[in-house]
Symmetry: C2
Subunit: 646 residues, 2 copies
């Protein structure tokens, strides 16, 4: 460390090569990274796609099935509706992608729907969008890990009884990877993500070639149709529900807009290109899988996934390629959780920056990631996994409402932004918190476009909320306003704090003229004499106090104090109910009530410090208890004087 | 509160009618009881029997079945061995009762096997006996609650999935009852205990009358015999195993000897009479049930308990009396846990008094019970319930080894005591820790008697350990030495502590001549100025220190400090890795290394105190972190100056 004199003050500068080593922490998450390294920790498009798209891409593994499962209620004959519906979903995807492309360029600081809503709809809507997204990120982790573990336990049934432990362990692993930094987690995620994309394109490509040369068979031994009640007639509402269910394919596309700051410069451009690539992969896989699923006459069923049926039909059996496809699908389902770990900490840091979440969430850890946000996400999603017993069926109804709410708010926000833009003169420019607004040509079309998008995603959200209400959606709908209220309460707290701490009207208070000291005595020994020695440096006005539970012990103490107490006054507080804190508090209150405004009371507590950590449970920490009870007293300070025992 | 001057010191005396009210605590466990009330809280024989015998009495509900389940391996024809075996068990019971009767009078301070072993076999054996008993008490709670809950869930199967939660909840309830005090728990336990005894005697009495007038039928529709493999021939070892299994009837008889101090004066007499009554009830029920079970040809089976078969045969069907018998049995199984709650805290308090367990266990709570011991037992047994999934089958192999080990050690200890007594002159008297030893006439017989008892209980223990080793007994056998090592480690710690704190060779160290103060600055605001104001009363040698993570913020802070810092020197500690504690520690170490022996360093930390408890998580507690890290430094004291925010 170098000492340097600068501007009259002293600055301690660390020599840059001196990296603090932190033993087991370094082992788990790596050595600390200096702040100056931040640009090198940014990621490119290739890793960015793997980190932020794994959630969206993994949904191709189940979106088609989700869609078919509704259509089959109207019988096999209704399945052909899946083709136009999947085109409609890709249409919705296009609207969302163009919209988020605009958001990424308009708000290069990240934050997605939250920032768009904050700047165009106001704080309350921003917080609703934020809360919805944060909830959805937590659910993404719980759902994707649970579904990944479900795949594993169906392969190894003995593990079924440990599914909760296994899921929590996996959350812990993904947390560790993310605590190491986005770049390192990116490398780990990239391989399975691209492997999944490859296997999917191989499967779809093979299928299409077979279709074109007429050799595409239908599924051998498809799972039985599990008809729930009588076959329904096909209605507009049923098609709407199938569409809504299929839109699970587009969940996750918002992640990039929340995490722009993770990208290398030029950030917006890189993020935008990554978004586009994601859309192309996602859209073509969705269309391809749905098209092939229809032609091979795949049956949506809980017994065998549509992807599995597709794989063994296209690859003509359960050989190597089929197994590779299934393994890739399992891994990507788990990896989807990683996207949430990239999005949640950044979004919560932005929200905390605005004062709506604890400040600690804005703190970048020694690996340059928002460590507290990552840990918070891991804890919250583990809690959900434990509460819901790692059951995908129980968790899924809570999912996707939040993200569609944020889609809707983002689109409404962008529509309003175009409206604002239309009111501006050409050449005029408004810069607000990093976002630049100018007059845009063709704002009418953009407004209509975003308006249409908002209505579509809004309808999907309402369908979700209504059809899944009883199964769990009510929990999310109930949680949202509660979270928003909590956000506001935190905001008010920080505002109050700033007001109370402000020096703007601070008249210097009188200096303290009298310092009273109360020395707590459990017994008379070297520890308490060390405390007395310390107390003497604080003041000459010292009173020793002992809470007497056992009269015999007290008598011994009084005798000893006469010898060793150096003439310090001793007060014995009798405690007929063997309580310790209560009679002591009563006495402290009495002393405190006699204090003048320019007086202060320090309570000195001798504290044994055992040489071994384990031995701490052999001693009570009186000072901690007192501190917690007395924190609200003005002018009372509690000081622990440690005395090393071993 | 009255202030009184006494012997030159000041004594604060509480007016006796002023009982501190502690809101929800009082509601749960009642108002505090003054120490002077202790004699009124002692219990008589009637309640004592219920409190301390419920464990032993409850074992009549399953002992016969445990015995028969071994015999049936040799076919129906072997069941008649149950009659002589049950006489042998009652014989063992007699030996144990007479032995414990002697212990109660020889060691009126309680502590049972632990104290007997301590005084006659030495510390190590005493700790083995103590550890064995403490483990067994924990198991008693886990097993009896789990078996009670198993009875409830077999009546209401929907509750089966909540068996762990239900069990833990019941442990919590029994803990609360016991925290209220032994007298109140006694009243609550007495009713179901005597109801059980009554129902058992009615059932056995009815059965015997029917047997005598020849109207005793055999069981209608007995459960099928579940033969494990081929029928074995009856061997001596099989009979020994049946005997061992049947001795589960005598577990729990040691409880009174551990808890003598709970009884009214004359304690030993009252405890002894209670023990005698327990033995008579236990012995006659054991004999009666086994006799009747044989004559009605009851079949030991997991499907229906022997008690249930006996009940519906004697009472001629499943009418009111049968239901009452079953309900009483269920309740007594749960109540057996209560005996452990009476024994464990007293035994752990005695062990802690000797310095082998944390001192906190000797502390009598405001309801005059060993609250910490009660809570420790509840936590430990709940942990076992959770780990073993509230499964009686998995828990039972761990059970009973500990108690038989303590039986054996107690008997060996008593045998040695008679040997010691034989060496004494008539009229000679040794008083040691409350126990009086004189020459005893007929010591030879007593020695042989206890020696025989020791061999019997030792053999039973070995059979348990061997036959149940793989099923879980190994856990107990492994835990025992570990616990004993922990006991010794705690003892050494307290011995070291006493040595280090002793004033016997204490040369008064030089008074502190220089007090350096380090004021930590996160920012410059009213809170930090309040801390500066406090620091000024400690010393004139103050240095302010700020850990700089963001250079811009640091510049603002430096400017502000120039205005408000009152000329106090400011040190900026740069932190390129965004760490807070590490660079600060490095600086503190540097300052500390320059301290002279008669100097002290106080680190003053400004701490916001939010008005609401919930808001605490919005602020980091720097002082707590520093305190934990710096506790081992001599002459460094950390002081938090609270600043109330709301």
């Amino acid at each position: 460390m170098n000492l340097e004199d600068k501007d009259g003050g002293t600055v301690l500068r660390r020599t840059p090569d001196k990296i603090p080593v932190r033993s087991w922490r370094s082992l788990l998450i790596g050595r600390p990274l200096p702040t100056a390294d931040a640009p090198q920790q940014a990621i490119g498009k290739l890793i960015g796609l793997a980190v932020f798209a794994s959630d969206a891409l993994s949904s191709t593994a189940y979106a088609t099935q989700e869609l078919l499962v509704i259509l089959i209620m109207a019988g096999m004959g209704a399945l052909h509706y899946s083709i136009p519906i999947s085109f409609a979903i890709v249409g919705l995807l296009t609207i969302l992608i163009i919209s988020y492309e605009q958001i990424i360029h308009a708000y290069p600081g990240g934050g997605g729907a939250y920032i768009v809503a904050r700047d165009n709809l106001g704080e309350t809507w921003a917080l609703i969008a934020g809360a919805a997204l944060l909830i959805d990120y937590i659910l993404t982790v719980s759902v994707s890990i649970s579904s990944g573990v479900a795949q594993i336990t169906s392969a190894y049934p003995p593990l079924f009884n440990f599914r909760v432990e296994l899921s929590v362990f996996m959350v812990f692993l993904i947390m560790l990877i993310n605590l190491r930094g986005v770049k390192e987690s990116g490398l780990l995620v990239a391989i399975p993500s691209y492997f999944f994309v490859l296997m999917m394109f191989v499967a779809v490509g093979f299928g299409l070639i077979r279709y074109l040369n007429g050799s595409l068979p239908t599924v051998v031994n498809p799972p039985p149709i599990t008809a729930e009640g009588a076959v329904q007639t096909i209605t507009f509402f049923l098609i709407l529900r199938a569409f809504s269910n299929g839109t699970s394919a587009v969940t996750g596309v918002e992640a990039i807009s929340n995490g722009i700051t993770a990208f290398k410069e030029p950030r917006s451009r890189n993020a935008g290109i990554t978004l586009m690539w994601m859309a192309i992969i996602l859209g073509s896989l969705m269309l391809g899988i749905t098209f092939l699923a229809f032609h091979i006459q795949a049956i949506p069923s809980a017994e065998e996934t549509v992807i599995s049926q597709l794989g063994r039909t296209v690859f003509l059996g359960r050989g190597g390629p089929y197994i590779a496809l299934i393994i890739a699908t399992t891994i990507i389902l788990v990896m989807a959780a990683n996207t949430a770990f990239a999005g949640f900490p950044r979004l919560s840091a932005i929200t905390a920056e605005d004062g709506f979440l604890p400040r600690q969430l804005t703190y970048r850890g020694d690996r340059l990631v928002y460590s507290n946000g990552i840990i918070a996400l891991a804890v919250a999603s583990s809690a959900l996994i434990v509460i819901f017993g790692a059951s995908v069926n129980n968790l899924i109804p809570l999912y996707a409402i939040g993200v569609f709410l944020s889609f809707t708010l983002a689109q409404i926000g962008m529509a309003l932004r175009w409206w604002k833009s239309s009111k501006m003169k050409r050449g005029e420019k408004i810069v607000e918190r990093g976002s630049i607004l100018t007059y845009e040509k063709g704002w009418q079309w953009k407004l209509i476009f975003n308006g249409f998008g908002a209505v579509t995603t809004g309808v999907v959200m309402v369908i979700f909320a209504v059809t899944k209400f009883e199964d769990g959606a009510w929990i999310v709908i109930m949680l949202l306003p509660i979270l928003v209220l909590i956000f506001f309460a935190i905001y008010r707290h920080y505002q109050n704090l700033a007001g109370r701490l402000s020096l703007s009207e601070y008249g210097t208070p009188p200096t303290i003229v009298r310092h009273r000291v109360l020395l707590l005595l459990g017994g008379v020994h070297r520890g308490s004499l060390a405390a007395l020695r310390y107390a003497r440096t604080l003041s000459h006005d010292i009173t020793a106090a002992h809470v007497s539970i056992d009269p015999e012990e007290t008598e011994v103490l009084q005798k000893k104090w006469e010898t060793w107490g150096d003439g310090t006054r001793l007060v014995i507080i009798e405690s007929p109910y063997r309580l310790f804190i209560e009679p002591l508090l009563e006495y402290i209150e009495q002393v405190e009530s006699q204090l003048n405004p320019n007086e202060v009371l320090t309570i000195v507590v001798p504290q044994f410090v055992p040489g071994h950590l384990w031995a701490n449970f052999l001693h009570s920490r009186t000072a901690n208890t007192l501190r917690n009870v007395l924190l609200n007293r003005k002018d009372v300070v509690i000081t622990e004087v440690p005395y090393q025992v071993e």
